[in-house]
C-alpha cells in the first residue's frame, strides 16, 4: 500500500498540471501579498481566490486522474491486494500531492508575508478543502463509468458548493424572512465545507463587524471551543464520509 501511495504521489508531482497549479498559486499569492500593504486585506483577497480555485482544481484533477488510472487500478486489482487498500492509497497519493502543491503555492508566501493567526487559519482552511474535494471527487467518479459524464459531474459539484448552495441559502433566507433564522443559518453553513472555511477565516478578520447581533451568534458558535470542536468534526466528516462511501462502492464495482 505504501508503495502504491508513493508511486501515485511521484506520478502526480511530476504532472505538468500540478506543477502549473503550484506555480499559479505561488504567483497569485506573492503578487497579492506583496502588492497589498495591509496584510489582513491581502489574506481576504487570497481567501476569495482559494475558495474558488482550490475546490475546482482538486475536484477536477482528482476525477481526471482516477479516470486515467483506471487501467493501473485494474492491474493492481489483479494482484493479491485488497481493493480497499488500492482505493485508499490512490486517495492518499492524490491528497498528499495536492496538499504539497497547495502548501508550496500558498503556505510559503503566507508564512513569509502574513504569518499571523489569520494566515495560519487560511492555510489550514485551504488544506482541509483540498482533502475534502479530493474525497468528493472520488465519491462522484466511482459511480460514473463514462469519463465525460464524470468530469461534468465534478464541475457541477464544484458549482454547487461554490455558488449554487449560497444562492439557495439566500433564497431560503428571503422566503422565510419573517422567522428568526440565525441558528438555522449556523446549521445550514455546516452543510457546505466552503462556507465553513470562509467563516473560519472571517471570525479572525472581520471581528468588529461580527460583533453585531447575527455576527455574535456566529462568533459564539464558531469562535467558542465547543463550536470549533464541532466544526472540526464536521470538516473531518466531510473528508471521511464521501471517501468511505466511495470505498464501499469501489469494493463491489465491476472494473
Amino acid at each position: 500500500m505504501r508503495k502504491i501511495t508513493k508511486y501515485v504521489i511521484i506520478d502526480i508531482l511530476k504532472n505538468k498540471i500540478v506543477i502549473g497549479y503550484t506555480f499559479l498559486l505561488l504567483v497569485l499569492s506573492f503578487s497579492v501579498l506583496s502588492l497589498e500593504d495591509n496584510s489582513a486585506k491581502a489574506v481576504l483577497t487570497l481567501l476569495n481566490i482559494i475558495l474558488i480555485m482550490v475546490p475546482l482544481v482538486n475536484i477536477l484533477f482528482a476525477s481526471v486522474y482516477v479516470y486515467n488510472s483506471a487501467e493501473f487500478m485494474e492491474l493492481m486489482a489483479s494482484q493479491p491486494l485488497k481493493r480497499k487498500q488500492i482505493w485508499f492509497s490512490v486517495y492518499l497519493g492524490l491528497s498528499i500531492s495536492l496538499s504539497i502543491a497547495f502548501l508550496l503555492g500558498v503556505g510559503v508566501p503566507v508564512l513569509l508575508y502574513a504569518a499571523s493567526i489569520t494566515g495560519y487559519t487560511l492555510i489550514l482552511v485551504g488544506l482541509l478543502l483540498s482533502l475534502i474535494f479530493v474525497s468528493i471527487a472520488m465519491f462522484a467518479v466511482v459511480r460514473i463509468r463514462d469519463k465525460a459524464k464524470g468530469i461534468g459531474m465534478a464541475i457541477l459539484l464544484w458549482l454547487y458548493f461554490a455558488l449554487l448552495f449560497d444562492g439557495l441559502v439566500l433564497f431560503i433566507l428571503f422566503q422565510f424572512e419573517d422567522y428568526p433564522l440565525e441558528k438555522a443559518m449556523v446549521a445550514l453553513s455546516l452543510l457546505n465545507p466552503v462556507d465553513i472555511g470562509r467563516i473560519m477565516v472571517l471570525i479572525k478578520t472581520d471581528a468588529s463587524m461580527l460583533m453585531g447581533y447575527t455576527g455574535a451568534i456566529f462568533r459564539n458558535f464558531f469562535g467558542a471551543t465547543n463550536g470549533q470542536l464541532i466544526t472540526s468534526l464536521v470538516l473531518l466528516a466531510w473528508i471521511i464520509i464521501p471517501f468511505w462511501l466511495s470505498s464501499i462502492k469501489f469494493r463491489k464495482k465491476d472494473l
Binding site: 481576504l44 449560497d166 449556523v186 445550514l188 453553513s189 472581520d206 463587524m209 447575527t214 455574535a216
Partner: protein, 409 residues
C-alpha cells in the same frame, strides 16, 4: 516704596486668609469641624488618613486640600462631599464608597446650583455617581480618576454627571466602570477635553439636549455602547479616538436628531459601527479616519445635508450602510480603499465615481442573517453586477471625486 504693601494688598484678595489643619494631632480632629471654623477664602489642609465624615457639606467659599490623598469614606450610606457655596475648590482626595439609592442620586462629590467651583486631582472610587454637577456655572472638573465596578445599569450611576449647567470645563479625567462615563443633560457652552472614558457599562459619553458644546482629544474605548449624542445642536467633535466599541447596539458615535455640528479629525478604529446617524442634519464630517470598523458609516435615509468630505476609509468591512434610496447627503473627495477606478489625467482624483454602498450591505440591512454569506462568491457576484447596473442600492449615493491616495492626516 511705602506703597508696596498697599499694592500687595490689592493683588491678594485677602491677606488674612488662614490655613487650617485637620487630621490626627492637628488643631481640628476632623474635616467637619474645620469647615465650621473656616471663613471666606480659608484653606483647609487635610492630613493623610481615613475620614468618616458622613455627609461633608461645604457651604463657604473655601479650599479643601488633601495632603497625600486622605481617604473620605462614605460607608456606602452617604453622599461624601456636597458643595453648596461658590468659589469652592476640592483637591487631592480619595473619595470612596458613596451611598447607593434608587431615589436619591448620591455622588462622590456633588455641586448644588453653584458657580466657580473646581474639583481637581481626586480619586473617586466605587461611588454611585462620581462627580455630579447640578445646575453649575463656570465649574472645572479636572484631572480626576473615577473608578467603579458597575454590574447592572440600575446599580450604578454616571462618572461625571452634569445637569442643566453652563460653561463647564471637563478636562483630563479618567473614567471607568460607571454607567455612562460622562453624561450631559441640558448643558450648554461646555468643553470636554482630553478625557479617557473606557469600559463603562453603557456610553462613554452621553449627550442629551445639550447645545453648543465641544469635545476635543478624548478617548472612548471598550464602552458597552460607545458614545451617544442626541437631540442637540452645535456640537464640535474634534480629535477624538473611538475604539473597540463592539456589540450589536454599540456605535463609535450614535447621532440622533443632531444638527449644525462638526465631526473633524477623529479616529475610529475597530468599532462595530463607527458612526450611526439618524434624523440628523447639517453635519460636517471632515478629515476623519475610519479604520477596521464593521460599518464605517450608517447614514439612515432620515438624514439630510450631511457632508462627508476628505476622510480616509481603510479596512472597513462595509464603508457605508443605509436603509433607503433617498440620499440628501454629500460624499465627495474621500479616500476609499475599496475603490477600483483609475486616474488617467493624473489629477489624483479617480475618473469614475465610487459607490460606497454595496449590494450585500443592503441585503444584510434587510435580512441580518444573510451575514453568513459575507465574502462568499455569490455576494461578490451580486456586488459586481450591482456596480454595473444599480437596482437595490441608492443610485445617488456615490463619491464623484474619490481620491486615489489617502488624505494626509
Amino acid at each position: 516704596m511705602r506703597i508696596l504693601p498697599f499694592i500687595l494688598c490689592l493683588l491678594c484678595l485677602r491677606l488674612d486668609a488662614a490655613i487650617l489643619y485637620a487630621g490626627n494631632n492637628k488643631p481640628f480632629p476632623n474635616i467637619t469641624a474645620a469647615v465650621q471654623a473656616a471663613t471666606f477664602g480659608d484653606t483647609i489642609m487635610v492630613s493623610p488618613g481615613i475620614y468618616h465624615e458622613k455627609n461633608l457639606i461645604i457651604d463657604k467659599p473655601i479650599t479643601l486640600m488633601g495632603v497625600d490623598f486622605p481617604i473620605l469614606d462614605g460607608e456606602n450610606l452617604y453622599e461624601v462631599i456636597s458643595i453648596k457655596a461658590d468659589y469652592v475648590r476640592v483637591e487631592g482626595f480619595t473619595i470612596r464608597r458613596s451611598g447607593v439609592s434608587s431615589i436619591i442620586d448620591y455622588a462622590g462629590i456633588k455641586i448644588y446650583n453653584r458657580s466657580w467651583v473646581a474639583v481637581v486631582n481626586n480619586n473617586v472610587e466605587d461611588c454611585f455617581f462620581g462627580i455630579y454637577v447640578q445646575n453649575g456655572t463656570n465649574c472645572l472638573v479636572a484631572n480626576n480618576r473615577l473608578k467603579a465596578s458597575a454590574k447592572t445599569e440600575q446599580q450604578s450611576g454616571n462618572g461625571i454627571h452634569c445637569w442643566k449647567s453652563d460653561k463647564l470645563y471637563i478636562l483630563l479625567n479618567t473614567i471607568t466602570g460607571h454607567r455612562d462615563g460622562i453624561y450631559f443633560e441640558f448643558v450648554t457652552h461646555s468643553e470636554i477635553r482630553a478625557n479617557q472614558s473606557f469600559q463603562n457599562m453603557r456610553y462613554g459619553l452621553h449627550f442629551m439636549f445639550s447645545n453648543n458644546d465641544a469635545y476635543f482629544n478624548n478617548s472612548f474605548s471598550n464602552n458597552g455602547a460607545g458614545v451617544a449624542v442626541m437631540f442637540s445642536k452645535g456640537i464640535q467633535m474634534t480629535g477624538n479616538y473611538f475604539s473597540k466599541n463592539q456589540g450589536d447596539a454599540a456605535y463609535g458615535i450614535l447621532l440622533k436628531e443632531i444638527s449644525d455640528s462638526h465631526i473633524n479629525h477623529n479616529l475610529f478604529k475597530d468599532n462595530t459601527t463607527a458612526i450611526l446617524a439618524e434624523g440628523s442634519s447639517r453635519i460636517e464630517m471632515k478629515n476623519n479616519r475610519f479604520v477596521s470598523n464593521g460599518w464605517a458609516l450608517k447614514i439612515q435615509a432620515s438624514c439630510m445635508e450631511i457632508t462627508v468630505n476628505d476622510n480616509n476609509f481603510i479596512g472597513n468591512s462595509f464603508d457605508i450602510g443605509t436603509n433607503g434610496s433617498l440620499v440628501l447627503n454629500n460624499f465627495n473627495n474621500n479616500y476609499w480603499d475599496k475603490y477600483e477606478g483609475y486616474d488617467l489625467n493624473k489629477d489624483k482624483i479617480g475618473d469614475i465615481p465610487y459607490r460606497p454602498v454595496s449590494m450585500f450591505s443592503m441585503v444584510v440591512e434587510r435580512n441580518p442573517a444573510a451575514m453568513m454569506l459575507f465574502r462568499s462568491l455569490i455576494s461578490t457576484v451580486m456586488d459586481k453586477s450591482e456596480k454595473i447596473a444599480p437596482s437595490l442600492t441608492p443610485e445617488n449615493l456615490m463619491d464623484n471625486q474619490p481620491l486615489m491616495k489617502p488624505v494626509a492626516l
